[in-house]
Subunit: 148 residues, 2 copies
DNA sequence: ACCATATATTTGATTTATCAATTATATTTG
DNA sequence: CAAATATAATTGATAAATCAAATATATGGT
């Protein structure tokens, strides 16, 4: 596994990472779809962040969700249009917008959270505490190595 | 790390995976951009696969690159237009297309391979052989858990 | 208080990706 | 062998993401 083998990309760690996250996203989205709402994982994760930290800015959301701020603007518009979110001007800083979850938004969050938990458990099944910690640490090393 | 904490998503493994792969892609693309060609990592990876297995089909490429077959069609069109690839009808199976790397394509592959190797080394720095193997295995578990 | 700079969000243009439907050819099966 | 089914690639419509530029407001230094 030391020499990079382009003939067998499936033997590289980065191929594994891509495949793992891709499959995880697909599974997670499929399970979420069974709720019958048509909403994406990213939209739900955004709603959850806003509920937990109502004062969060769109810039902070973009960092948390690994998206461009322009994407957050458009996700926000969509969620407002679909009545999951309210957007209003912030009193203290008029550049900012206050984002608030609607009742409909709260409902879907409540429905989605157990699904997300289930998804994560499915994906990590068979990995014990130590293995999960080592995975976390190894990923953290990659994150540090590739930052900036 | 056992209870899922939506307040601190950065403490979940899936957040780490997303962040690691996102940062890796960004770094890899930035280093590739220094070649001066404007080509994406995905396009290079596709060229490399075709060079190694000239008989590969677009369906197989789509699996290898985690993309829709429609995406592969459009990537192919682009690479043909930019003279990195040739596309011709396959003699034995007229549904298929033969994809062949042009000289220009070969040149850019030669230039890109050392960059990709460097990128992978940068990202994995500080992880010894055993840690890399464990990372690989843990990711493989996730892949198996989330397949179908 | 004024000006330069920084920050938050939005907008327009473009790129990339996906889905569903279509076309063309190959294979299987009754 | 004909009809049904499967496979490979393409196309059109749409969604999602990014970049760069624009707008509006806030902050810091003099």
């Amino acid at each position: 596994m030391n020499e990079i083998d382009f003939q067998n990309p499936e033997q590289t760690i980065f191929y594994q990472i891509e495949k793992a996250i891709k499959q995880y996203r697909t599974m997670a989205q499929n399970n979420l779809n069974e709720l019958g709402y048509s909403i994406t994982i990213n939209q739900i994760l955004m709603l959850i962040q806003i509920e937990k930290r109502p004062e969060i800015s769109q810039v902070e959301l973009s960092e948390l969700l690994f998206k461009d701020v322009a994407s957050i603007t458009r996700m926000t518009e969509l969620l407002v249009k679909r009545d999951f979110l309210l957007r209003a001007e912030n009193k203290d800083d008029r550049r900012k917008k206050d984002l608030r979850i609607t009742d409909k938004g709260k409902t879907i969050i409540e429905l989605a959270i157990p699904i997300i938990k289930k998804n994560r458990n499915i994906a990590l099944a068979g990995l014990n505490q130590e293995e999960q910690e080592n995975l976390f640490k190894a990923l953290n090393t990659i994150i540090l190595n590739t930052s900036k």
